[in-house]
């Protein structure tokens, strides 16, 4: 029973991080129809910058208790590489979506060397400062409170996004533009500005996920390229363009991976692909996606 609880929490933690990045991917795809291969690079950027920011802030006297807010700030700050990158992507908007995909792939290549140039080849990490929030330890069940806080942040983001998209004016405009760009433009929406905002939100989600996860892990050169696969699996399972899909996909991937690790460790990696193919066989558009033509 205790073991089950440990595994569950571990899986949900992984799912929380996946959701944040996937939500960014879904938002950008839903509105702009761009699939961002550089989502892993944003994730890594947030992790690296988070380490530097917190190290700098701690040296300047920041209290240990503020490590999580500091990471949130770091993630949001570095997410503002979004606008210039969006400007770059803007030059290929009208064209075939393959070009957009390729441009994001070019970004992946460039970011690899940027990380190495700025942060070196050693992995970068924060020591266990995040344990300042304590660890819940009860008869074998243990989870750092920080992990629960990250899960809470993801839930808050999901709820916040839901409310934003459904209840606010801007959210309605966003959904309208996603449905039919030409119509929205005809109705007076400044689509260009909207795109810039949406892309930046997507980037910030990715970088913040990286920043939040870095205390429990590390920032390394490989993380950008490896992460893309999992993020894409989440998005494909959940259905491209759907926020609910991001949530469902992230939970499925996170929990099944955790379960596989305990029950059949050898299957850990293959499990994801099996799920992807199984879902697509049953529901080709993903669980919450719209049917592909």
């Amino acid at each position: 029973m205790v073991a089950f609880a440990n595994i569950l929490v571990g899986g949900v933690f992984h799912a929380a991080v996946l959701f944040l990045v996937a939500a960014g991917l879904q938002l950008v795809f839903g509105v702009q129809k761009i699939v961002n291969l550089a989502c892993g690079s944003f994730y890594a950027l947030g992790a690296y910058f988070g380490v530097s920011f917190v190290a700098y802030a701690s040296a300047a006297g920041l209290s240990r208790w503020l490590i999580m807010p500091a990471l949130l700030v770091a993630g949001i700050l570095v997410g503002f590489v979004g606008p210039p990158i969006e400007r770059l992507l803007r030059s290929v908007y009208g064209r075939d979506e393959s070009f957009q995909l390729l441009l994001t792939f070019a970004l992946v290549l460039m970011f690899q060397d940027v990380f190495r140039f700025v942060w070196g080849s050693n992995p970068r990490s924060l020591d266990s400062a995040y344990l300042v929030y304590g660890v819940i330890n009860a008869r074998g069940f243990s989870v750092p409170v920080y992990n629960l806080l990250v899960i809470a942040a993801a839930i808050a983001t999901a709820a916040g996004f839901g409310a934003f998209l459904q209840r606010t004016n801007y959210g309605r405009i966003l959904r309208a533009t996603a449905e039919n760009r030409a119509m929205a433009e005809a109705l007076g929406v400044d689509v260009r500005r909207l795109y810039a905002v949406v892309f930046t939100i997507g980037t910030v989600l990715g970088t913040t996920a990286g920043a939040l996860v870095v205390p429990t892990a590390a920032a390394s050169l490989d993380m950008a390229i490896d992460f893309v696969i999992e993020a894409f699996a989440v998005v494909v399972i959940g259905g491209l363009g759907s926020m609910r899909g991001a949530l469902a996909g992230a939970l499925i991937v996170g929990l099944i991976r955790a379960y596989a690790i305990v029950v059949y460790p050898e299957a850990e990696v293959l499990a994801i692909y099996v799920i992807v193919i199984a879902v697509l066989l049953m529901r080709p558009a993903g669980l919450f996606g719209k049917q592909a033509s």
Partner: protein, 322 residues
């Protein structure tokens, strides 16, 4: 495209390639073997991308299939003829591509790209994981084979690659290109272009859209396997890294660099990329950044690639004399 200048350009290219081992240092000849492998694979890839409009981000899996196929056929089954290995991996690659293609061509655009990426990485995980079968991260050895029944053991592998095998690969490329030219200019090729430009309209006109796409997918897989066999031969090892998704991205890079709307674009792209990467890696340790920047510039400013550049240069010159 006018016939005479094109034929002249192609002839010049072939003569240039044939002369390369003689006029350049020996290193460049063996450097070009992967070029031949990639060029053949990309001819197939562009059938799918340029002519049918489907962007696959998992195409490297077919190259891997060819390399591992060669390793199994030569290493485990003792076949020594490269021709037999080539034909076998092409056929089996096509067979394997059928169920995958059936699944994937139901989708278009970005969905197709992501699905092919998933399948590619599935193959990668399989190769890595089932190490008793595949050698895992250590890969499988691809022993040396005979070409045209000749062992040519008087050449050590380096001399062999820079000499007989170079010309053999050049001939293979020419054969592959001629075959692809026929395919592309056949009614089937026209169907593909129709499907690419407007699938619904093509359907109304009686084209079986799914079947056409599937056929393109299968043919591209066979070409990919052939290219992979050449790569595996050159390296002497088939390893999982051949199949990682960034390698698929590199294939797309090469095609776009050369120009995907031009028949010869993929070949030009493979050549240019091979040279470019070689020179950059000696120049700086941050060569990935420069490659990424090159790709970005091409996508933004020169989407027609090098072939497109050459075309527009020709046109402006023709415009001046007209």
């Amino acid at each position: 495209m006018r016939r005479a200048p094109l034929a002249l350009a192609v002839l010049t290219g072939v003569i240039g390639l044939a002369a390369l081992p003689v006029v350049t240092p020996s290193y460049y000849a063996s450097l070009m073997i992967p070029f031949f492998g990639y060029a053949i694979a990309l001819l197939g890839f562009n059938l799918l991308f340029g002519y049918t409009g489907l962007l696959s981000f998992g195409h490297a899996m077919f190259l891997g299939f060819g390399a591992y196929g060669a390793a199994v056929l030569v290493g485990k089954l003792g076949i020594t003829s490269f021709e037999i290995v080539l034909l076998t991996v092409m056929l089996s690659g096509a067979l394997v591509a059928m169920p995958i293609g059936l699944f994937c061509v139901r989708y278009v655009g970005i969905f197709f790209g992501m699905l092919t990426l998933a399948f590619g990485m599935l193959f990668y995980s399989f190769l890595f994981k089932f190490y008793h079968l595949t050698g895992g991260d250590s890969g499988m050895r691809v022993p040396r084979m005979n070409i045209l029944g000749l062992e040519l053991s008087q050449y050590n592998k380096i001399e062999f690659l820079a000499g007989p095998f170079y010309y053999y690969s050049l001939v293979l490329l020419i054969i592959a290109a001629v075959m692809m030219w026929r395919i592309v200019h056949s009614p089937f090729g026209l169907h593909l272009k129709a499907v690419r430009d407007n699938a619904r309209k093509a359907e109304y006109l009686g084209v079986h859209v799914h079947r056409a796409r599937l056929a393109a997918f299968v043919i591209s897989a066979a070409y990919g396997a052939a290219g992979g066999a050449i790569l595996g031969f050159r390296v002497g090892l088939a390893d999982p890294e051949l199949v990682y998704w960034t390698q698929s991205g590199q294939l797309v890079f090469m095609t776009v660099l050369g120009g995907f709307s031009n028949f010869f674009g993929p070949i030009i792209g493979a050549f240019a990329f091979t040279l470019l990467q070689d020179q950059l890696q000696s120049l700086t340790q941050y060569w990935r950044f420069i490659l990424g920047a090159v790709l970005a510039v091409i996508v933004i400013a020169f989407p027609e690639g090098l072939a497109g550049l050459a075309d527009s240069l020709r046109r402006t010159r023709a415009g001046k004399t007209a």
